[in-house]
Subunit: 446 residues, 4 copies
Amino acid sequence: MTRTLEPSSTDPFFPEIESVRFAGPDTDDPLAYRYYDADRIVLGRSMRDHLRFAVCYWHSFCWPGDDVFGEGVFARPWHGAGDPLAQAERKLEVAFEFFSKIGAPFYTFHDRDLAPEGASLAEGHENLAHMLDRAEAAMDRTGVGLLWSTANLFGHPRYAAGAATNPDPDVFACAALQVRDALEAAHRLGGANYVLWGGREGYDTLLNTDLARENRQLGRFMNLVVEHKHKIGFEGAILIEPKPMEPTKHQYDFDAAAVHAFLQEHGLENEIRLNIEVNHATLAGHSFQHEIAYAAAHGLLGSLDINRGDPQLGWDTDQFPNSLEEVSLAWYALLQAGGLGSGGFNFDAKLRRQSVEPVDLFHAHVGGVDILARGLLVAAAMIEDGAIAEHVEQRYAAWGGDLGRSILAGDTDLAALADLALDRKLDPKPVSGRQEALENRINRYR
Amino acid sequence: MTRTLEPSSTDPFFPEIESVRFAGPDTDDPLAYRYYDADRIVLGRSMRDHLRFAVCYWHSFCWPGDDVFGEGVFARPWHGAGDPLAQAERKLEVAFEFFSKIGAPFYTFHDRDLAPEGASLAEGHENLAHMLDRAEAAMDRTGVGLLWSTANLFGHPRYAAGAATNPDPDVFACAALQVRDALEAAHRLGGANYVLWGGREGYDTLLNTDLARENRQLGRFMNLVVEHKHKIGFEGAILIEPKPMEPTKHQYDFDAAAVHAFLQEHGLENEIRLNIEVNHATLAGHSFQHEIAYAAAHGLLGSLDINRGDPQLGWDTDQFPNSLEEVSLAWYALLQAGGLGSGGFNFDAKLRRQSVEPVDLFHAHVGGVDILARGLLVAAAMIEDGAIAEHVEQRYAAWGGDLGRSILAGDTDLAALADLALDRKLDPKPVSGRQEALENRINRYR
Amino acid sequence: MTRTLEPSSTDPFFPEIESVRFAGPDTDDPLAYRYYDADRIVLGRSMRDHLRFAVCYWHSFCWPGDDVFGEGVFARPWHGAGDPLAQAERKLEVAFEFFSKIGAPFYTFHDRDLAPEGASLAEGHENLAHMLDRAEAAMDRTGVGLLWSTANLFGHPRYAAGAATNPDPDVFACAALQVRDALEAAHRLGGANYVLWGGREGYDTLLNTDLARENRQLGRFMNLVVEHKHKIGFEGAILIEPKPMEPTKHQYDFDAAAVHAFLQEHGLENEIRLNIEVNHATLAGHSFQHEIAYAAAHGLLGSLDINRGDPQLGWDTDQFPNSLEEVSLAWYALLQAGGLGSGGFNFDAKLRRQSVEPVDLFHAHVGGVDILARGLLVAAAMIEDGAIAEHVEQRYAAWGGDLGRSILAGDTDLAALADLALDRKLDPKPVSGRQEALENRINRYR
Amino acid sequence: MTRTLEPSSTDPFFPEIESVRFAGPDTDDPLAYRYYDADRIVLGRSMRDHLRFAVCYWHSFCWPGDDVFGEGVFARPWHGAGDPLAQAERKLEVAFEFFSKIGAPFYTFHDRDLAPEGASLAEGHENLAHMLDRAEAAMDRTGVGLLWSTANLFGHPRYAAGAATNPDPDVFACAALQVRDALEAAHRLGGANYVLWGGREGYDTLLNTDLARENRQLGRFMNLVVEHKHKIGFEGAILIEPKPMEPTKHQYDFDAAAVHAFLQEHGLENEIRLNIEVNHATLAGHSFQHEIAYAAAHGLLGSLDINRGDPQLGWDTDQFPNSLEEVSLAWYALLQAGGLGSGGFNFDAKLRRQSVEPVDLFHAHVGGVDILARGLLVAAAMIEDGAIAEHVEQRYAAWGGDLGRSILAGDTDLAALADLALDRKLDPKPVSGRQEALENRINRYR
């Protein structure tokens, strides 16, 4: 495919906006950071290294502002009619202008965000290769890194019945192509991770679905990906992103525990970790903090999508984070677990549909980054103070005694424990869990 | 403890009610079975053997008809003041009168349903021993079997912070005593299974909880139980009953997948299976059919609690089943998986609080048994017709071809599949999933 | 606007499908009615007159099979590139071919379903006028009637912040134009009703919203519509369709009770009735039966959208009805209330996205119509049998006594009643509500 | 009934706890107020007058710490066996000790919290009279006022099928007695309000329910109450507390809008206002802020129950408030509406069941009062700053123009507006709703 591309413009898309800078909590500037001071050291690391935040290409630059009931309202120049590749190039320029101005150390993308689908697999493959050159150049120019890439295995009609779990193995092969290319893209661009989201790996009705068979297909697919990662020497982590439903009625990667079961069944528990999303956690009936704690307790903590849901709504609203309460509890679980490693905080968040102006992208991200920074400060204070951790340790202190140690060591059996309970006339009394006092304590830090 | 017990009465409690008999669909008798014909052969087995239904001691004979906002309304004679053991004996007589009249092949109980808690562990232990003699005699007399027993590890104040996951190992030991006794009770009474429900194995707040530590405690406990089962030679299955929340904010045995992850982590996936409850499935955000299909696909199908929830309510309403639609889909999943083995259908269901008359117990169970029988007939018709299964098989037929087989056999790698997709210019088209047609088809059978 | 339109084809779109006919419950033909026998008399009226069912133009002919995560998968000829008006004409031909073959007495449409939006208000206005000629001709030719029309006040970007409740009164005026035209279209086409769905009359955040002001705007709008109806002499009913959320976070017409409050506040309770949707009822936390019963109890019953939701999903899934249990309870509430009058059952339902073939439209509607017909038969049997209604009447019989009558007549006051309770030493006992027996009874009829 | 009562003790129940005092944000004392400084003036009124907080007798002094799965764990001396009236007296002493030490200006009670039910209506009536003497004395002694009283019309078996909506008019009369007495108690004790919560005014199944009839009964009851209030000259407000479900499947007072509809229908919209509870709002699918805003927009704002729910749980968890984010938004809505008038903030909240120690009552209330005080400060800052209110005003500014004013004044009709839209070629563009910027703005104040 040879042709001359004429990007419609190389002018700045956000000419009126300077780089966003830290200006302290008292600033009146709504487009300055009040808490995110990249070089500030918190618990021995810079805020930059703690947050490792990423802007999401899809929501911020590809989504046109449509919803189920209405057409796109964001009149971005690259959304109109025109040559798809030229539009992709213009979009990339604008995206990197934004990444730079917001001070993002990372971005994330689906293959189809970066490069147009094309009329055939081959064309999509070439489009991606073409755009990767541009992306690489832009990354070199700006210093923005890649937190992760992923393959869009849900948008094209061929994936209507799933990708790896499709009843048609040809679709499995198409998915293999996209994942190979997107994984190699991550490798080439120095990506810190590679993410798999099983957008349509699930079912709409059990009446036409063979659950056990689809589980085998999915297990095989994940093993193929892991093998390829090792083959090409990609050092980043492979991550699965749980989600309970939407677009399907039931997704196989329902929540952290379901993925944990899957990984163990397919021998992948040491190869794949989790990309946990706030909104997916709450749709699955868990708090975000729970999903982080579960992942941490099982060595599965990978990265985070930090977009929140709405407590009254039953779908993925993908809102920018703005709850210090939610974010600080997540940070606390995270810091206790030793942090995210190669992971980061991805703003897999979209503007509200009425936020039609380009400047709204800045408002949204500035607020999001700032709430993360502020949450970090709160959690760091909790860690440094230590009162809550000490309470928890004290609560379980009796397990350090003879009985507790012998139970956990496997030195006793059920009958012996039963007899001991009778012999010692055990009559343990409930001890206050101090929930209200602990909840008050948390509110001291924020 | 020696004393003379004076059961208040040995008269029938339901004198006006005969044994419930099969009378066919056209009967006008609300207390006759219209579909449950115990000896009728369906798919090669009697209805009795398919259903293996059990009456639940707790809900039907212990619960006084109270709720969070109101006191007990069921004026059963054994609920009043009096000697607890004498009341337990009277209750047992009434329960077996009911089991016999309803024609139940099985019942289920918690240790504390059968025998009073007592003022100490020793007293509870003795009370249980005393009542097991009575229960054994009643079972011999009536021929009613035990589907499973279980230990109540959630009612007594000592379990306020959990049993095996309690911060106090003394509580763990108390739980060991109760489980040993209840498991040995199952063994003595010829129970087909033993069930563990982690009523308070979970947390109210993560602020005071060490998730990883509690997971280790719970894993150790389950291994102790399994070891004891083998030691005493109990042949029944050990079952865990998933539930997502209530009474705690978050139960560790959230759903089938969470228990599956837990079992694998602790090396128990071949030792413990699942007791799946309709109402717990729906509280966890799954259909009942899903939880059965998940368990079946992973070899974890054990037994069922057949009480339903209310689609508009967010707590465990424990209602008697009456939806042919829900029940027949469950049966279909079940029959496809080869049935329940040693499991059965337990009516872990309670009367609505306004159903204050003893006869309401009969209405509830007659309707429940009948909907199960009718659901079985529907699912059997689906199986015999075969149209839906054939559709599913056809849907995946392409996986029987070269590409599909080589993928599943592990004969190919990601790069080869990717190249194949490009080389063959794959362009698979979406195929109708036929959901509406299949849903119509189902409605032909019921 | 003058131009020559070349419909791409006048050939049948469903050439292989005959008219759907009644063939009885035992037919093997999946595209025949098993229960819907239009001329069969049930409770004194024909099934045709009971059901008055309508096919929904939008879902079945305009929606391309896209969802939030994927593009359109329905390759209908009129969805591709081309002249919008020519496509609209082709679509109309196909739609009426479908209405005729399925035997639908009615259809329903939004203005923008029938005619393209156009580049300006004037063009949209003219497009509608043009298409109304075609629609009128097609209706004359086929005998298909209009159950209701409505205006799409949510799709165009101008309605992003609502229509009547928009912060910009110009948008209010645009909405007035669309509603006038759509209402006059209903009048011209002999429509039985006119429906208003406040697609974006609500808010995304209270932070930017003046609830009281928007309530006044909405009240004024509804009064303008009612005045215009009377002015033009439209005899049909004006209906509001409640929905709790989606696309906005909170819709003002949350549920039947919220609309009831609104109508009373604005003096419209005798002018506007309700169009109740199954899926909207359940999203609002009510059963469908509840919303019908509420509307009936307050004289607000208008018409029904009969598409169901999924009990595990928190958004509007708009599925075809297939639950006899849900539908028969709705019918029972409906028949007790005297039926729907000018209303009917609108299939505001969409195919599952994987149901990509044209024939799936037939499967979906045939199953939907049949479940309605079967539900009618069940409810009619309940009415004819009378046992449940008699139970209810008996339950309240005591209100026919002196005390009950004097209370309701207003002949007593609180103090007198209190004294009476003391003087008579009242001690009323709970009476069984017989819920389980009644639920069993229902299962006799279906 | 004459007998000698021997309160078991008159010693302080919380001897180790001093009165809770304001000590500023930096205090380390967990039992001191950090924000609640009763005399501090905020927006022209003292914090005491803003908050008007009340301790709830039921949850804090009557509830024994049981739940659906376990017995009471709070070993309060007055919960054991003994003379009910003596226990009630001891409980009252302890309650007022607590009210005083926590610095509560108000308390709230159900009749049955204060005084034992007794064996008959007459005995309950006398018990209440007896305890009112004691309560009056305690109020005089301590200066604690009554925010509201209410009647418990849901605990006794006679109310199993509702009170005013009971199928038995004798139950209606019993309810009339309790409400007369509780309302007169409020009058005697100088109560600021009287609350009605329809605990079982709803249904468990529509199969046995006549919705329209029960609506008439309830309307009559509310009118009787209002008439009696005027007759005795009670100056406080009559309030209804909405709740969507629990204990019944569906409560008639579902949410603010449902009560609004009911009040208008029965001519009570100027007589009765709302007592809005956080947890009831969220169970009904609304944010707390929404319910306040709805009530304010319709002149129905009465008082608040400030206990929160859990976003993952579907029942009334009645937790103490601790979310500054939730509370500050509620305050903002409240202050914009001019405050609560005679209402206040009632802690209708219970300890978590594991919080077994008496001191936990202090932790819970101190944290709750402080989060209210802090929320007030945040909302006051929002009001004083004015930026958000100004944004809202600007957003609707165009309604101040000719078109907007003529629409709202009723000076135009639908046809004229439609013609105007065409004539002026209206083409309004979407304007940014600025949701993210506003959400960021809010986070500046807290």
